[in-house]
């Protein structure tokens, strides 16, 4: 790797300060959830998806690469964790690590294949790879195909955290989310992140400055896939099942939607987007497929009118970095 710039401060101290303030507010609000009447299961699901969306956003918002196959990381980690927990009987933390490691390995392989191409071809390759994995998972016995892996035990994490209690589980998931989020936040505001942004803006110029852009993109891809996998492993605890829905390309589409509605390239956009979409699915569940129609309408309006997304528009109005 070429020499990194010595400037280790973020672009503007003020932007960093804004983002940290919002982060603290967000963490406090989320920590208070068990004391409000909100169904914790719903928030936990939203948190897992928020983390996946943040991971996806790292790739598109800061790396300029639209991956239409992120479901493969979610699903792979989910299945591997589920298998580790149910069949191998591993302790919860180890189970999560197994899932994350599986997603990381997958990211290395698929990243190596996909990074060679950009733009639309990159999106198509990730879509094809994800669909390839879907069909593989459909056939392999350990996933139980259409039935999925059910009844995953919640167990005791680290020997003392009883995950079958909703409140304990909630705080564990929240901790996981905040850890993942901070990792992404740190990556975006690091020299590595700056180089990524420059590659997104003008790859040729970055190459001419001496950066090996492919390596940076690959690293971003691996990081994005691993964190998405980590979120998928957490989700398995929450839902207690791992199924084909998590690997299907429509799940990738939902991840794109969450980030789009929240704001591509914003720090908090994906989190907001995930909560909006999950809330919509939850509370409009009685309306059947109108949810799909609404999601499609949101896609269309976001692409045509609100390309910056919710948080992006707010940030633009307030002239702050969010």
């Amino acid at each position: 790797m070429t020499a990194l710039t010595d400037d280790t401060l973020p672009a503007t101290p003020r932007a960093m300060r804004d983002e940290i303030i919002v982060f603290v507010i967000m963490a406090l609000m989320l920590a208070a959830v068990p004391f409000t009447g909100i169904y914790p299961f719903f928030v936990m699901q939203a948190l897992c998806f928020a983390l996946v969306a943040c991971a996806f956003n790292l790739l598109i918002g800061y790396g300029g690469l639209l991956s239409f196959g992120h479901a493969m990381f979610l699903g792979t980690a989910g299945y591997c964790s589920a298998h580790a927990l149910k069949v191998w009987g591993l302790e919860p933390l180890l189970g999560v690590l197994v899932g994350t490691a599986a997603a990381c390995a997958l990211a290395v392989i698929t990243g190596y294949i996909s990074i060679r191409r950009q733009g639309i071809y990159f999106a198509m390759i990730t879509l094809a790879l994800s669909q390839l994995l879907y069909f593989i998972y459909l056939q392999t016995p350990f996933t139980h195909g259409e039935d999925g892996i059910q009844g995953i035990p919640q167990g005791m994490m680290l020997g003392f955290l009883d995950l079958s209690k909703p409140t304990v589980l909630y705080y564990v998931v929240l901790a996981g989310f905040l850890a993942g989020f901070l990792l992404i936040f740190r990556t975006i505001n690091s020299p590595f992140g700056e180089v990524l942004k420059s590659i997104r803006e003008n790859e040729q110029r970055a190459i001419s400055l001496g950066y090996k852009t492919d390596q940076y993109k690959l690293l971003a891809f691996i990081l994005s896939g691993t964190i998405a996998g980590f979120a998928g492993a957490l989700k398995v605890f929450v839902a207690q099942n791992a199924s084909l829905t998590d690997v299907h390309w429509t799940m990738s589409g939902e991840i794109v939607l969450m980030t789009l509605i929240g704001g591509l390239g914003t720090v908090f956009g994906p989190v907001v987007g995930a909560f909006v979409i999950i809330a919509m699915q939850q509370y409009l569940a009685g309306y059947g497929q109108w949810v799909t129609v609404i999601q499609g309408a949101i896609f269309v309006s976001c692409v045509l009118l609100f390309r910056r997304g919710l948080i992006g528009e707010i940030a633009h109005l307030l002239k702050r970095s969010l």
Partner: protein, 407 residues
């Protein structure tokens, strides 16, 4: 149906909020959830019809007149186990549902089975087929109504094998139900002296069976067993006719078929098919009376399938049990244990009982689809070929692998 659902949802929400401070001791409040496939390939055999059957059971039980408050909500599991499990969990946690009924699709049923056991709720399953629900996966919280893959295998499978169909090839839907019925039918065929030459698995919700049917033809098996249900079965049957399967001397065995499937196929295509069911609307005066009431209220005016009948019967028995207990203890295992104690008796299935492993016992019937000339009107589709007595129609207790039975 949707306005009723929304209205009942709003009403229940309001009442739940009002009743939030209620004591958790025995009360006369019951909430039922009808979880089904509302719009997919099993929507006709369960779906909105099951919600209607549940509604009719609530009305016919007479409990609302005796001061009980009974609410009904319905949901769509979309044939996805994770959606079904999440919905069941939410219904039990947030909406305080006491019993979940119907749940067709064996994969979803097994997933909900787990959730219901964990949360000490109740599942009265009338829609799913897998015999695992009363064998390896049995729980003290689930009762399996209507039929299971053992019934179908020992009804249709044995009958066809004994009648000369001694080599079989399976077209199996690749999920829990398909695997279960293939397994049970294989056992029945081999017990009758037949042989299974092979099989092919197809994804759930397949629309084009051409390549699978070609493989079935190539196997030269005398019987092609359709180990699938609903839309998959009807598509396979239609396309088998298109590819001239029967002209090659092979017979189609529809292992699970409902009256709604025969209706959508039409008698021309479906004539001669034989299969096992446990309820037919035209059996006696009581079934005819119920079916007529059902048909009038159904949006598409279809007759009740055995799944709908099962929802009705299971709920009637549930309410009878609650009345015997004097109140709703909101304790799933306790109510189910009491349900197993009381014998069942309803206008649709007649007298029967519930085994300790959660299996309801009553006779089953082998039907054959009439030729168009033999049918006197719409929905007059079946002729009775044989009656299978209750003790032969379901897994004998000594062969059951249910862990609850082991002392």
């Amino acid at each position: 149906m949707k306005t009723r659902f929304i209205a009942s949802l709003l009403l229940t929400t309001a009442l739940t909020v009002a009743a939030a401070g209620h004591a958790s001791a025995d009360d006369k409040v019951v909430k039922i959830g009808s979880l089904s496939d509302q719009s997919g390939l099993y929507a006709d055999l369960g779906g909105p019809g099951s919600t209607l059957a549940a509604q009719m059971a609530i009305e016919d039980s007479g409990l609302t007149g005796k001061g009980w408050k009974i609410d009904l909500i319905s949901g769509d599991h979309q044939n996805k186990p994770d959606v079904g499990a999440n919905l069941a969990r939410q219904w039990i946690d947030v909406d305080k549902v006491d019993a979940i009924v119907d749940v067709p699709n064996s994969g979803v049923a097994l997933a909900v089975n787990n959730v219901v056991k964990e949360k000490n709720s109740i599942m009265l399953n009338s829609g799913a087929g897998t015999s695992d629900l009363t064998n390896a996966q049995c729980t003290p919280n689930t009762i399996h109504w209507t039929y299971d893959t053992y019934t179908l295998a020992h009804g249709t499978g044995s009958a066809l094998a004994k009648a000369g169909g001694d080599t079989w090839f399976f077209l199996t839907a690749d999920y829990a139900f398909g695997a279960a019925i293939e397994r049970d039918t294989t056992a029945a065929v081999e017990a009758a002296g037949g042989k299974v030459l092979g099989g092919v698995k197809h994804p759930l919700n397949t629309s084009d069976f051409s390549s699978f049917l070609l493989q079935a033809q190539a196997s030269k098996a005398k019987v092609i067993g359709l180990a699938n249900a609903g839309g998959d079965s009807t598509n396979a049957i239609k396309q088998a006719a298109e590819f001239g399967i029967s002209s090659g001397g092979q017979k189609l065995a529809a292992l699970l078929l409902f009256i709604t499937d025969v209706h959508s196929l039409g008698l021309n295509t479906a004539q001669g098919l034989s299969f096992t069911e446990t309820f037919y609307w035209d059996t006696n005066d009581q079934t005819r009376a119920f079916s007529k009431r059902f048909q009038e209220r159904m949006k598409n005016h279809s007759m009740p399938t055995m799944v709908h009948a099962g929802v009705y019967a299971s709920l009637l028995h549930y309410f009878k049990t609650l009345e015997a207990l004097g109140g709703n203890p909101h304790d799933g295992a306790k109510v189910v244990a009491k349900m197993k104690e009381l014998p069942t008796d309803d206008p649709l299935f007649g007298k029967g009982s519930i085994e300790p492993n959660g299996r309801t016992i009553h006779p089953a019937y082998l039907f054959e689809v009439k030729k168009p000339a033999e049918s006197k009107g719409p929905w007059d589709y079946y002729k009775l070929v044989a009656t299978i007595p209750a003790n032969e129609a379901f897994t004998p207790l000594d062969k059951s692998t249910c862990p609850l039975l082991k002392k």
